[in-house]
Amino acid sequence: MSLLASVPGFSSNQTALNPAGPAAVHIEHTFALIFWVTASVYVLTVATLVYFVWRRRHTFDTIPEPAPTSTESDRFATRAVTIAMAVTVILLFIMLISSFITSHRLGKMNAEQALTINVYGHQWWWEVEYPNQAEPYRMVTTANEIHVPVGTAIRIHGTSRDVIHSFWAPNIQGKRDLLPGYTTDILMQVDKPGRWRGQCAEYCGLQHAHMSFFMIGESQKDFDNWMTAQAQSSAQPATPQTKHGQQVFLTHSCVLCHTIRGTSAGSRVGPDLTHLASRSTIAAGMLPNTVGNLGGWILNPQALKPGSRMPPNQISGQDLQDLLAYLETLR
């Protein structure tokens, strides 16, 4: 299995064969077992076929008379086919049992201690919530980036706000559909720190292609710091420029869909922007979160991601500069 994993090109951060968590490791083992068994069977079967066709080929251009079947060769064939079938059944059983064992292991992670994260699929972005049982008002809401402490079991508690989506970060765990009208719980764990890309895997309409997210594995300490920062309200604007930027935000259409905690913006239609600047991408992982990209996105999201739910905004140059300056302060 290490052979397979070492095939160049499988080292990316969105592949099942570069596991970063125990669930993906278990699955990779079953994958490797099935791969080697089926590859051997394929090679053997095709080799047998080629051998017999080559040996028994009729070399003349005519079509010979149909041959009577000899009982002797048929008896030999019967034996061969019986053995082949028996081997097939045995191999199927081996793969079946391996598959059962893996399924069993996937369901057996440390569910009691797991950190629960709510994930809601939207057309075409991911809403992420870290509920806080003790202090519900300190619930952290973010979008498209899921920070997790490495080595801790996580329970993704998910559903959809509109159509069916599928939550899939292949380096961590297999996929799970988020269905409207159902909630689902899936256990996983990230063991390797890093940014693991995931993507919606169930066709969900126009921008299904641009609906990705990142699972960010970090140490418990970094994670706690991140949580503390995220639970804060937004930074208050300090300079005249950012103050004006905030006013632009609150008087334009932004306020109709987005939340910035600590201001009067409180709509839940689009992603929560309270700590926008702390995220590394915008538009569901489509673009790096730079001032230029953000500006372009605000002016015309429809040119970048046609059909997305955000309208084009006609903002004067100065207003846009100030708005961007304000958004950059939302760490």
Binding site: L17, T38, R56, V81, M85, P180, G181, Y203, H208
Partner: protein
């Protein structure tokens, strides 16, 4: 054992010539423009099915080409997201509903089954014509909608709620749902015809254990059609009602269920795969037998494999839904069931290899296509194990790995045998041989092109590329593989062009075929090429599994059928002993008119539920016309007591 060449015209006696002229007169198809719409003979309708389905194959193939251009470059703007979604939905729906099932089941079985069982026409010939027109009109409706920007865009499965009333504005999903209705009605009609033809119209002596494997395959498929299509009829109708009638079947807010749709869809959708692939195996059995020059090895095993595949196909639909979160015990069951399907498929493959290993393999174009089938289909079967295992499926489900898997299974299991079948039966249908050289060129181009196109999809899928994405970022490591795939498409494109040129050229200049160019053993080769409209001058009798190879030196023929009517012999279901004779209806315009009326009702119901209610009136009128008793046949029946009075 010797081949009995069918009697050449020159050797016919005076009496036989007279009989042939009389049969020709009785069974002739009407001529002229209007006559074209009246035709009811299964060879006429069968050819139309083949040509129509092939046209849809070409169109859907061109759509695939556009998608390959789009995906050759990351973040490409060749197709917009909206267009791409329509293209892949049209490609999938067309390939499944307008090409694969109509071609593999309807076209091949309508043309070949009556010939293979040795009768003069398919049972219910008018229903057959009706089913063809419905299929044609359904396809035309789907593409007229597509050309007016109303192409379905929710995937060939049209999951709710994405295809439901709240997220799919306009009429795109409605046309998709109605396309399903058209193909269902036509598929069910053909299934009934095939079952009755096989069970009641076989040549005397063709007992159940002597039915050719091709016919067995199509029989099992007909049963599966009857059991599976009602499920999708239900789900697509519920979808349409939700969309236009305001019902709440799939509305989670009031207890509707989005998973119900998936269960109903895949209850049909999985057997659908076998509807496409079992006719393929039926073709493979036939070609392997003929070109290995021996009776097929393990006839009983092959038949039982077909039957058990037919049964098992209904027990594993949930493996399309593993990612929805199924209880573990159910997962285990469906994993086991999915892996079990490998047993009958494996048995078939081993039997075919054994047949070749103990016969003399003649490498002609049809056989090359079948050898290609082995390479490709077995690979598809192997990747099938990956998707059957729940944990692995959770990783590969809805990625390009699955796209690769089902193209290997469906193109391998259906399109390779189909091209083999077209090469194999072309001489029978047209009386001329295809060019062997061009045939092999197009085979090799297709074989290489297919693997270049679809093998990299396994890799790109494992690298995490999901299905149904209209584009992808540049830095994912998917670009090169996608470009290789797109290049492979060019090979396939050229191969199909060469195939069509081969057909076009051979129709004029191909060598004359004669009745049995491959020296094959099944009954369709006992008559002239192309077959006359009465199929056989003398209805044959059968003495073994390969009727022509096993024929006795003085094989009897059936006599005593009425010569002044479209008379056929009916036989008993099990042992095919003669039972009686029946009279088939002649050509008529009514099935065409009924199909037009039905089409009007179906298309109108896209816009308003009243379409069905009001549309039923013209349908009823045409049906009355269709079944209006004719005096002459009624009088004949009374006189001859074909249907004895009580």
């Amino acid at each position: 054992m010797s081949v009995t060449p069918s009697v050449p015209q020159a050797e016919l006696t005076e009496a036989e010539l007279k009989q042939a002229a009389q049969l020709e007169y009785i069974w002739q198809e009407p001529k002229g423009f209007i006559g074209w719409f009246k035709a009811v003979h299964h060879t006429t309708i069968g050819i139309r099915y083949v040509v129509t389905a092939f046209c849809f194959f070409l169109v859907a193939g061109l759509l695939a080409g556009a998608m390959r251009i789009q995906l050759a470059f990351p973040e490409s703007h060749f197709l917009s997201a909206d267009k791409y979604n329509q293209f892949f939905t049209m490609h999938g729906s067309t390939m499944m509903f307008l090409f694969a099932v109509p071609m593999m089941f309807e076209a091949l079985s309508v043309y070949l089954v009556p010939l293979m069982v040795g009768t003069r026409n398919i049972a219910f010939p008018r229903l057959n014509a009706y089913s063809y027109y419905l299929y044609l009109f359904g396809g035309i409706m789907f593409y007229v909608a597509f050309l007016s920007n109303t192409g379905a865009d929710n995937g060939w499965f049209s999951y709710v709620p994405l295809a439901g009333p709240d997220y799919a504005p306009g009429k795109r999903a409605d046309f998709w749902a109605q396309l399903i209705t058209f193909t269902e009605v036509s598929g069910l009609a053909v299934a009934v015809e095939i079952l009755v033809t096989v069970f009641k119209l076989r040549a005397p002596g063709m007992s159940l254990n002597r039915i050719p494997l091709f016919v067995w395959g199509q029989t099992i498929v007909a049963f599966m059609v009857i059991f599976s299509l009602p499920a999708i009829m239900l789900s697509s109708t519920m979808l349409l009602l939700d969309r236009t009638g305001g019902t709440q079947f799939f509305n989670p807010a009031v207890g509707g269920d989005v998973l119900l749709y998936q269960h109903l869809f895949w209850w049909f959708g999985h057997p659908e795969v076998y509807l496409i692939f079992l006719p393929g195996t039926a073709v493979v059995s036939t070609i392997v037998t003929t070109f290995s020059r021996r009776h097929v090895f393990g006839y009983l095993v092959l038949v039982l494999s077909l039957v058990s595949t037919g049964f098992l196909a209904f027990g594993l639909w949930v493996h399309h839904m593993f990612a929805t979160g199924i209880p573990q015990i159910a997962e285990s069951y469906f994993t086991a069931a999915s892996m079990m399907i490998a047993i009958p498929s494996g048995a078939q493959i081993f039997c075919w290899i054994a047949t070749m290993a103990t016969g003399k393999v003649v490498l002609k174009t049809p056989m090359w296509w079948v050898l290609g089938f082995f390479f490709v289909f077995i690979m598809g079967g192997m990747t099938g194990i990956f998707v059957a295992s729940v944990p692995v499926d959770l990783q590969v489900h809805d990625t390009y790995f699955v796209v690769a898997h089902f193209h290997y299974v469906l193109i391998g299991g259906a399109v390779f045998p189909l091209f083999g079948a077209l090469a194999y039966w072309f001489p029978k249908v047209t009386g001329r041989m295809l060019s062997e050289k061009l045939g092999q060129v197009s085979f090799w181009l297709f074989f290489v092109g297919f693997n270049v196109t679809f093998f990299p999809m396994h890799l790109v899928g494992i690298r995490g590329m999901p299905r149904r994405v209209y584009t992808y970022p540049a830095n994912m490591g998917w670009t090169l593989l996608n470009q290789i795939e797109s290049i492979g498409y060019i090979f396939i494109f050229l191969s199909v062009l060469i195939f069509m040129w081969n057909v076009f050229r051979s129709l004029r200049r191909g060598a004359l075929a004669g009745p049995n160019p491959w020296m094959a053993g099944t009954l369709e080769w006992a008559t002239t090429s192309p077959p006359p409209k009465y199929n056989f001058l003398h209805l044959p009798t059968v003495n073994g599994r390969e009727a022509l190879w096993d024929a006795a030196p003085n094989q009897p023929i059936v006599t005593g059928l009425d010569e002044d009517a479209r008379s056929v012999l009916t036989t008993r279901t099990l042992d095919a002993e003669p039972e009686g004779k029946d009279e088939f209806p002649g050509p008529t315009i009514w099935p065409f008119l009924a199909a037009v009326a039905t089409t009007a009702a179906f298309v109108a119901s896209v816009f308003t539920p009243w379409g069905i209610t009001l549309g039923a009136i013209p349908i009823a009128i045409t049906m009355i016309g269709w079944f209006w008793p004719e005096k002459q046949p009624a009088a004949r029946r009374r006189e001859r007591e074909i249907w004895p009075s009580e």
